[in-house]
Amino acid sequence: MAIIEVKKLSKNFKVKVKEKGLKNSLKAIIKPKYKIVRAVKNISFEVEKGEMIAFIGPNGAGKSTTIKMLTGILYPNNGSIKVLGIDPQKERKKLAYEIGTVFGQKEQLWTHLTPYDNFKFFGAIYDIPESRVEKKIEELKMLFELDDFINTPVRNLSLGQRIRCEIVASLIHEPKILFLDEPTIGLDPVVKENIRTLIKRMNKEYKTTVFLTSHDVSDIEKLCKRVIIINNGQVVLDDTMENLKYHYLNKKIVDAKMKERVNLDDEDGITILKDKGYNLKIEVDIQKRSVADALKLLNPDNIIDINISNVPLEDIISDIYKKEGKE
């Protein structure tokens, strides 16, 4: 059964147009000009229970707008949403008990209190009896490795530690779905990796459905089995991670260091990316030509070192963005 059902969802914003110059500013006071920005256009998708789903797209694509409609923050202009069978706009409070949210850039914790006190505060928000809160904190403390700083005021914590606490705070009431909006924004790679591991562990442990937005592709590559790509307010792609890779990973990059200079030109299925004489980088379209075939052109005896790799996911996604933009 689908845990999130979105049908033909749309959201428009009325935005005041600001023009330059004193004259226009004065005009705008009397008669402001507006334009309609269609942030989300007629999108539909479903999410199954226990899934870890990535919702990605460039800045301004409509990711946050969608997540805010799913959590009951924004009212849609059109379409219907059912989260756990609940209409987020009609029964906001009822839904709030069932979901957890972490908005990467917004802090919900009191900075002068310790994480422990903060968690108890969140326990009170969700009307959880004292004894159960304490048990839950203990459990999550282990899972998210908070032992070292659970009694340090939040303002003295590092950004990574804070995000971990933010996530724990949103799990105190055992939500069925966790919405993570850009959870790793502003973190360094090591901390990012650590957060990802913890999220994965949490999903395994509690079977919590995770709905994740991010513009960091490695977040998604490492966490999610399914991807929804959104651009200009529309769903561009809704597929499994595997399919995405399979369909868009039909190209290999061959990076070779040669003993002798080779003269190679673009041929059917082969594109020269870089040619510095002894160092060569070519892209092979494996639907048209096999890698082995390409290697023959290089004369295997001459190769000192070789590296064959997939096209990075980032490039694939930006490719998809571009294609959609043209259409």
Binding site: G60, K68, I73, L74, K93, K106, D117, I125
Partner: protein, 264 residues
């Protein structure tokens, strides 16, 4: 239903408590803020001493009654700004998308949003209010009435600010309207209504309801009148309901921080 109210109050109480703890982390600043506010209010006594040296009755008020008017004014202001500080910057909360965090909680958005912070100097206002009551002459019924009027007036002022700030859901620049409206209420609050005549006087009991918050309570305290007392209560209930209605009507138009992003 009762459980819901109880849980809501618990959250508001915890928020205020935590905010107070934070303010008290720096004891010197905390105390200076309060003391300065008491002095601030007290400095205006000079003005009234001079005015009453010219005339022993200003606008139908004796000197002590003007002090009581000051007491009610700073008491209501103190209650409003101490417990509901964020109601007075609600426009900003709406315009910058800060309502999000309250919208994902299973609590009343409006109440959570306005009880999330306190204004320390408002404690000074409340202290000053009781100082004036002591000068005026304190009795038990007096004390209870005064406290009641300060609380109910504080709620009234808060409601006005919520209504005006909620206009931000429709027009983003309306924070100026809210500031002006709140300023109006405080400017008139400390002057006897007897000095105003005609339309202004009507306005002071309707559109700029200083009369409900300040003038009637002083009259009721000087000589009790059940009718006037009930008018204050009814008016407060009315404005509180109106505040909730306007806020929730506007909430459907809430655009989070998306508008700001669109501007960039």
């Amino acid at each position: 239903m009762l459980m819901v109210v109880k849980n809501q109050l618990k959250i508001s109480w915890l928020s205020i408590k935590y905010a107070l703890i934070r303010e008290m982390l720096n004891k010197t600043t905390f105390l200076t803020n309060i003391i300065f506010m008491v002095l601030n209010n007290a400095s205006f006594i000079v003005q009234w001493i001079i005015l009453y040296s010219l005339k022993d009755n200003v606008g139908g008020y004796t000197f002590k009654q003007v002090l009581l008017l000051w007491g009610i004014a700073s008491g209501t202001y103190g209650v409003a700004h101490f417990f509901f500080k964020k109601a007075f910057s609600l426009s900003d909360t709406i315009n910058t998308g800060k309502l999000d965090s309250y919208l994902v909680q299973p609590k009343n958005v409006l109440i959570s949003a306005i009880t999330t912070d306190i204004d320390t100097s408002a404690l000074g206002d409340m202290i000053y209010a009781y100082i004036t009551l002591f000068i005026y002459g304190v009795t038990l019924p007096n004390f209870l009435l005064f406290t009641f009027f300060c609380i109910i007036g504080g709620i009234f002022l808060t409601s006005i600010s919520i209504i005006l700030s909620s206009l931000s859901f429709w027009f983003s620049k309306s924070d100026i309207i809210a500031d002006t409206g709140n300023g109006l209420m405080t400017n008139f609050a400390t002057y006897p209504d007897g000095i105003f005549k005609g339309i202004v006087k009507i306005l002071l009991f309707t559109l700029i309801p200083v009369g409900i918050v300040n003038y009637i309570p002083v009259r009721v305290m000087v000589s009790f009148n059940l009718g006037s007392f009930l008018i204050v209560i009814m008016a407060t209930i009315f404005i509180v309901i109106l505040a909730f209605l306007v806020f929730y009507k506007g909430l459907k138009k809430y655009s989070s921080s998306n508008l700001m992003m669109a501007k960039i």
